[in-house]
């Protein structure tokens, strides 16, 4: 098993290189000239050309990409045009906030979405089932940022319970200011988790082993959790893993709505001020995060389903 994890980690390297290549390539299309930005409006053509030479901006693409990679490995993402400080530091300052927001979003999706899906499946065609599935349909169709706006209208302006923006001080303050953004970002995740859990449960509910479990006198609660849900979990994990990508993208929107000091808000700020190294750094960071989450999801399968674990073991052995 650990051999497989190692193998997957090694395989992660080309994917990350590819990801960074794609992102770097896209950002390289930008017509913003770093030299011009750095020297300001008043700079002469000669001084700009000089700086370009110095920064190696006229080198071939491959060379520049190689240099970016080399610096990246050393924790150097270049310098922000706006802040005149290393992009890496800016990102590290904000990364925990984005983690907090995205993490609570996933947690809420799991804690609310899965129970809704389980109950809806066990009570198929009941009122609860209908109501929760209608909620899920709306949840999957509503734009996250708009959900945020509505939450602010209701819970900050009409009934001032939670702050409309920013991040509070101290644990209590942070939690209080986290409520609305976390609800916003998890809205579609809850819907997705509930829908997937329900349909996966409905498949499992009819399985013979469920009746076998009942036939040996297992209580219905235990049958539901131990025999149905555990078998229904794989598609749910897949869906939540994919949702994490949506969530990272959504963090850009949610952080903008709530002025949450995370990477998402930073990237938008940087786009507006044409701060290319910062944008690149944020996009690279978010992509690397998602790649790692994808790997974790794949490994999580092994803990849920012994058949997949056996496959992983075999895969680890063959390519020793």
């Amino acid at each position: 098993m650990w051999r497989y994890v190692l193998k997957r980690l090694i395989l992660l390297i080309p994917v990350m290189l590819g990801t960074i290549l794609v992102v770097y390539f896209i950002m390289d299309r930008s017509d913003v000239d770093p030299a011009r930005v750095m020297l300001g409006e008043a700079a002469t053509e000669e001084s700009i050309a000089e700086l370009r030479e110095e920064l190696g901006l006229d080198d071939p693409f491959v060379v520049r990409y190689g240099r970016y990679l080399w610096d990246l490995i050393h924790g150097d993402m270049g310098e922000s045009y706006t802040y005149r400080t290393p992009v890496f530091d800016q990102i590290m300052d904000r990364l925990p906030n984005t983690f907090l927001l995205a993490g609570s979003g996933v947690l809420l999706s799991i804690l609310i979405g899965i129970p809704i899906g389980v109950i809806a499946a066990k009570k198929q065609y009941s009122l609860f089932d209908d109501v929760s599935m209608v909620f899920c349909l709306f949840g999957a169709s509503a734009p996250a940022f708009w959900v945020g706006l509505v939450l602010v209208l209701v819970f900050s302006l009409a009934f001032p319970i939670f702050p409309a923006s920013g991040m509070g001080k101290g644990v209590g303050g942070v939690l209080r200011s986290l409520v609305l953004p976390a609800l916003t970002i998890s809205f579609s995740g809850i819907a997705t988790a509930a829908r997937t859990t329900r349909s996966s449960m409905l498949e499992v509910i009819r399985q013979d082993y469920v009746d076998t479990a009942r036939a040996k006198g297992t209580s219905e609660g235990k049958v539901t959790v131990r025999h149905m849900l555990r078998n229904a979990l794989i598609p749910v994990i897949t869906a939540i893993g994919l949702e994490f990508g949506v969530l990272l993208g959504g963090s850009v929107l949610t952080e903008t709505v709530f002025a949450w000091p995370g990477i998402g808000r930073y990237v938008i700020e940087s786009i507006k001020s044409k701060d290319i190294p910062s944008v690149l750094g944020c996009v690279v960071t978010l992509s690397i995060l998602f790649t790692i989450v994808n790997l974790l999801v794949d490994l999580l399968y092994a803990f849920v389903d012994p058949r997949i674990k056996a496959q992983y073991k075999r895969a680890g052995r063959v390519r020793k």
């Binding site: 009942r214 040996k216 078998n231």
Partner: protein
């Protein structure tokens, strides 16, 4: 004395396509320690009957219309879900048809057997696992394999696990629903042999559901033949195999090859079993019966006792019967 007695049981499934009359008139008795074979075609209602006894009819669609199921003098149909849960596994256990699908793929076989023990006995997880390992040894699987998952076992081995699980709490009645149908012929014999041994060891009564008459002849004391949700004939193996009276039973026997007799051609029963959503009036077998007359098409025959313990649902065996 019969410790399982089913009286006048009627059950149906309510589906979008209509009401499926799965059980129409089932009367059965099972004496302690005995093996009763329940024989019938696919769709005759065998599995439904087993699920009725276990209280495992699908909640949404399955409905018991009337009848009683007495277990030790108490009507199981009057018990609440909690009480039934205590009976399942501890008093009455069941083996399902397909061993490939009746084990939970994400739990080890040891955990699954131990769960049965934990459900009914106050004991630690350790003790339950020890008991599970003993049960595995008993069905011929090394205790060391208790930590393996179902996908690591073959079909026959899985059925052994299922049997170990069913017998883990020493139930008084074991319902085996086609326990060997999904297995290879050689494995079938092994599994049946093992079931026979364990049954006499634990003194369990057995309700053996099958469509294989050979299995019945080898294993059962008594036989009941079920057709379209009705018991049409029941009696000792001798009664039913040698002195069968119901035309369906007769048809059943003439449609299987006999090794000792030279028969030129097998005689199949003409036609198909009636659609359970729209059963014929009168005798359910009248559409396929070579002896059916006007009365058979309008009036339902009762179970007539033609000799002690040998009952037949056919007018020809009732009062003023005509000889076949």
């Amino acid at each position: 004395m019969a410790f399982l007695e089913i009286k006048n049981l009627k059950a149906e499934y309510v589906t979008d396509e209509g009401v499926v009359h799965a059980l129409n008139q089932v009367d059965l008795e099972l004496v302690q320690g005995e093996t009763l074979g329940l024989v019938g075609e696919t769709g005759a209602g065998k599995t439904t009957l087993a699920k009725c006894i276990m209280g495992l009819l699908p909640q949404k669609t399955g409905k018991i219309r009337s009848g009683e199921i007495y277990y030790d003098g108490e009507d199981l149909l009057k018990k609440n879900p909690k009480e039934m849960q205590k009976i399942r596994g501890a008093h009455i256990a069941m083996i399902f048809q397909d061993p490939m699908t009746s084990l939970n793929p994400v739990l080890t076989v040891g955990e699954q057997i131990a769960e049965a023990v934990e459900n009914h006995e106050r004991c630690s997880k350790m003790k339950a696992m020890e008991r599970a390992q003993e049960m595995l040894e008993l069905v011929g699987i090394p205790a060391a394999r208790s930590g393996e998952y179902p996908h690591q076992f073959s079909g026959g081995m899985k059925q052994r696990v299922v049997i170990a699980m069913a017998l883990a709490c020493n139930p008084r009645l074991l319902i085996a629903d086609e326990p060997t149908t999904a297995l290879d012929v050689t494995i079938q014999a092994q599994v049946l042999e093992m079931m026979r041994e364990l049954k006499s060891k634990f003194q369990t009564s057995l309700l053996l559901i099958t469509h294989d008459l050979g299995v019945v002849a080898q294993n059962c004391d008594r036989v009941a033949v079920i057709y379209a949700g009705e018991i049409v004939e029941s009696g000792t193996v001798m009664d039913v195999f040698k002195r069968m009276q119901h035309p369906y039973t007769q048809g059943l026997f003439s449609s299987i090859p006999k090794i000792h007799e030279e028969v030129k051609r097998l005689v199949p029963i003409p036609g198909l079993m009636p659609d359970p959503t729209s059963l014929p009036e009168g005798c359910k077998f009248c559409t396929r019966c070579p002896h059916a007359d006007g009365r058979c098409r309008t009036e339902e025959p009762l179970l007539y006792e033609i000799s002690p313990g040998h009952q037949v649902r056919c007018f020809r065996c009732g009062k003023g019967r005509c000889e076949a």
